[in-house]
Subunit: 188 residues, 2 copies
């Protein structure tokens, strides 16, 4: 074991990625609004979802008001609309007209029909970190279009090769990427 | 807007992905140990890292004891060793011998020289969710090998096309994937 770090360079910034691109939905002033979230992950074996939210965002108003939100996973073919949701505020444009919206059990968490995967969440806890809130939602119900699933040993599973999700990277390389091929792991 | 969800099927499970595969390091009983973590994301513009930890894990002992940990991002060529870290416990094998370990500023957060990106963190908050703890670490210092960077407009940035990170998926499709090609976004 070498204790020095001579071949390593200290670098500033936010380096953890690649991360899933999701659209978080909430009703704001009675209308569906969607925001691109770059920092999210499931939590406690998928029972919860954690994401980081800048509290001045328009969508944050609806999340705080209704204490519900949705997570929608867009396909590559939605990248332009996703980009609009990430670059324009709901204060300036009506994002409800971008998609075919639907509601599930919670009634106040609008979801995007065009997205392969939709997850309804109830806000469970909000962590106050000043510049960025940590929102923890309890997963209530999830939806998927059958065309994105496969049957493996009799069980219906998501097939991410069919979903074509959008991935993004940090550390200065702020680009959208495709999901690549499966890696075959050789057992040792 | 259609209010029904007729083409959508309710599905059980943990559907949010793709997610980065990281190796979280901690000193346990005086030796570096590494654990594969599948649920993690940066937080508050990258100042913090959130990850979900099953508290019975061997690595959890070291995180609680030292209140420090590291995040190491492995390349595809480390997939077999990553798999060992994910399938064997530090109670049974000595994982410190798998890698060339090094330490940074915190002195108690072991890092893996072979991983392109290493991030030292101090534990800031531990959320108790029963089956799965939420660990929030404050990022102290980050390291990268120069070969994984590019210069863009005079600024050194991570180039994820050089890093070849490992990505994994949930929802029953528990596979490792490569990062795919960049998606070119057409401005509307």
């Amino acid at each position: 074991m070498s204790e020095n770090n001579s071949n390593k360079h200290v670098i500033e910034g936010n380096l953890l990625s690649p991360l899933p691109v999701i659209l978080v939905g909430a009703n704001v002033n009675g209308k569906p609004n969607y925001l691109v979230i770059g920092y999210s992950c499931p939590f406690d074996f998928g029972k919860y979802i954690f994401f980081s939210l800048y509290p001045k965002r328009y969508t944050a108003i609806g999340i705080h008001e209704n204490m519900t939100f949705s997570v929608n996973i867009p396909s590559e073919d939605l990248v332009e609309k996703t980009n609009i949701c990430g670059s324009k505020s709901g204060r300036d444009i009506d994002k409800s007209s971008l998609f075919d919206n639907f509601y599930g059990e919670l009634k106040t968490a609008p979801m995007i029909r065009e997205c392969p995967v939709n997850i309804e969440c109830k806000v469970h806890e909000i962590l106050d970190y000043g510049d960025g809130e940590g929102i923890i939602g309890k997963v209530i119900k999830s939806y998927v279009d059958q065309q994105y699933t496969s049957k493996v040993e009799g069980k219906v599973i998501l097939d991410w090769r069919k979903i074509h999700p959008i991935i993004w990277t940090t550390g200065g390389d702020f680009n959208y990427y495709k999901l690549g091929e499966r890696i075959i792991v050789k057992d040792n």
